[in-house]
């Protein structure tokens, strides 16, 4: 079976602002029907990339193909196929929620009646029907975000761009946005979202591209990224504190990949690197059982995405990798 063409294909994208490079040769491919996260710290170039892909900004160099069309050469073709939820609200504050959606619907040439129908549908779907007549100026941050998202869905876009969709939202509003993104994903919409929140990328995205200083520095599924950074570590909590040192030594021989150490005597915790993962776990369990050391808990711990992020973007990114503690 053949892959459908990628929803977004970005190559060598560059953009500078007065000498500082916001994008420095960004490459990015988003497969159709996936949720793809662009993860990076503040100032990494996420917004710049999104603005170029959504035809708002011209790159200095490189190419952005969106839904098969060049964002610079055929901006209208791209604009018909995308939805954009920008980093800050792109709404008319003076108009009501309904008037906003109707205005955008008319600009998509749905006609007066078509625009009104679509506005009503979307208000209902995003729980804004009751607030539909109030001016957006009076909306809470969460309501604004939902209306902005509704506006970006008027056309049922092929590719949806979400630039930090939940930054600044309270946990409940964040959950609502996440739920909406999941529903879109389940309906088959391709979503490219940017985020500084590791948790957000981890929860929503099938693929994550880590971006820093205007360049992609790593890419993969959340698990692949975690694997890239550090080998998993085996951790054991023993019942009898008196046998902790013995357990640590056994872990080392059991995993066969390194020295076991007492990690935290107070918590009766010992650990050892476990390069091959589950088989190492099985061997360690067997070794501990044979020695008659009772265990309270044993787990294979992958590095968290936080550690991945720090490892990839932090100042020590070039230095040899340390095993995660």
């Amino acid at each position: 079976m053949s892959e459908s063409p990628p929803a977004v294909e970005v190559t060598g994208l560059c953009k500078s602002y007065g000498g500082t490079a916001a994008l420095d040769g960004l490459d990015l491919t988003v497969r159709t029907g996936t949720v793809h996260a662009l993860l990076g710290p503040n100032g990494a170039g996420k917004t710049t990339a999104v603005r170029i892909m959504t035809t708002l900004l011209r790159p200095d160099a490189g190419r952005a193909l969106v839904a098969g069309h060049d964002a610079v050469r055929d901006p209208d073709e791209v604009r018909y196929r995308i939805g954009l939820l920008g980093q800050s609200a792109a709404l008319d504050e003076e108009l009501s929620g309904r008037q906003n959606l109707e205005l955008f619907g008319r600009l998509y040439h749905l006609g007066g009646r078509g625009a009104a129908r679509r506005a009503a549908e979307l208000l209902e779907r995003f729980g804004l029907a009751a607030a539909g007549a109030r001016p957006v100026r009076q909306y809470s941050g969460g309501m604004r975000r939902r209306l902005d998202l509704a506006a970006s869905l008027i056309m049922r876009p092929q590719v949806l761009f979400l630039d930090e969709p939940t930054t600044g939202l309270d946990p409940r509003a964040r959950q609502a946005v996440w739920q909406a993104v999941r529903a879109l994903r389940d309906a088959g919409t391709t979503v490219l979202l940017t985020t500084q929140y590791l948790e957000e990328a981890d929860r929503l995205a099938g693929t994550i591209t880590v971006i820093d200083h205007g360049r992609a520095i790593a890419e993969g599924t959340p698990d692949q990224l975690k694997d890239r950074v550090g080998i998993p570590r085996l951790e054991v909590v023993v019942r009898d504190p008196g046998r902790l040192a013995e357990a640590a030594a056994l872990l080392g021989t059991g995993t066969g990949t390194g020295t076991g150490t007492v990690t935290d005597p107070a918590r009766r915790l010992a650990g050892a690197p476990a390069a091959d993962g589950t088989p190492a776990l099985t061997r360690a369990v067997a070794a501990l059982a044979e020695a008659g050391i009772g265990i309270e808990d044993i787990a294979l711990r992958r590095p968290t995405l936080d550690e991945v992020f720090l490892h990839l973007t932090g100042p020590a990114a070039d230095s040899p990798r340390k095993a995660p503690a």
Partner: protein, 282 residues
Amino acid sequence: MTAPAPASGLLAVRVPRTPGDRLRRALTDSATMTRRGLAHWSRQPGALLTMLLFPVLMLVMFAYFLGGGMAVEGGGDYKEYLVPGLLTLTMAFGLETTMVALTQDINRGVLDRFRSMPIAPSAVLVGRSVLDLLASAAGLLVMAATGLAIGWRFHNGPGPALAAFGLLLLLRFALLWAGICLGLMAGKPELVQAVQILIWPVAFLSSAFTSPDTMPGWMGAIAEWNPLSATAGAARELFGNPGWGGGSWATDHHVLLAVAWPLVLLAVFTPPALSHYTRLGH
């Protein structure tokens, strides 16, 4: 992998390909943008009312508080002199309205949504100009009605009077594009304030309130050539109100200048306004 479920496709993609299609889209989208402005008015009738009533207040104040001390050369009624001047000033102050509306749109991010949508590139600006012209036409009507109520008259019949209103709106149209250009260049409210302040000396260095003959030499010369004086003088001439003759070339060719100045302003401001707009994303 199978083809993804077509979650998209509410609309067939209709990118206009022919000039006719593009023109149709430009008209539809501009009309939608104008409608947006009308919705703003109905949401905030207070703002519209202030915009319409401020010049009326000025008219009443100048007519009754200053009017007594103002002499019109040739001995006319000061109100007859004042009304065309204030009509012209109202057009000039419209510059500010346009700038404020545009900088607000830019700073509020709604422009980003418009620009990410497949709409005619001219729609935002054309919609804005149509709306502002509508506001100005309404303003002229309200002012003229007030003028009639306090004793101002037009003496040459409805034809020349309509021509005078046409020239006033032409000036407004030209200043509108100046406002669009400056609004786009500034992008920030600070420059709007600068323009709000600078507009006063320009207004007073014109024949709006007093005849340039009564000003010190160099000021009088500036005032005579001020585009506002051209329109005010032409309006006085067409309405048959006093005080438009002066003997200099500029004052003898008011109507010509009232056409020429706005065209010059349009030639100066429209191209950079359009290129600023299309280059917003560069």
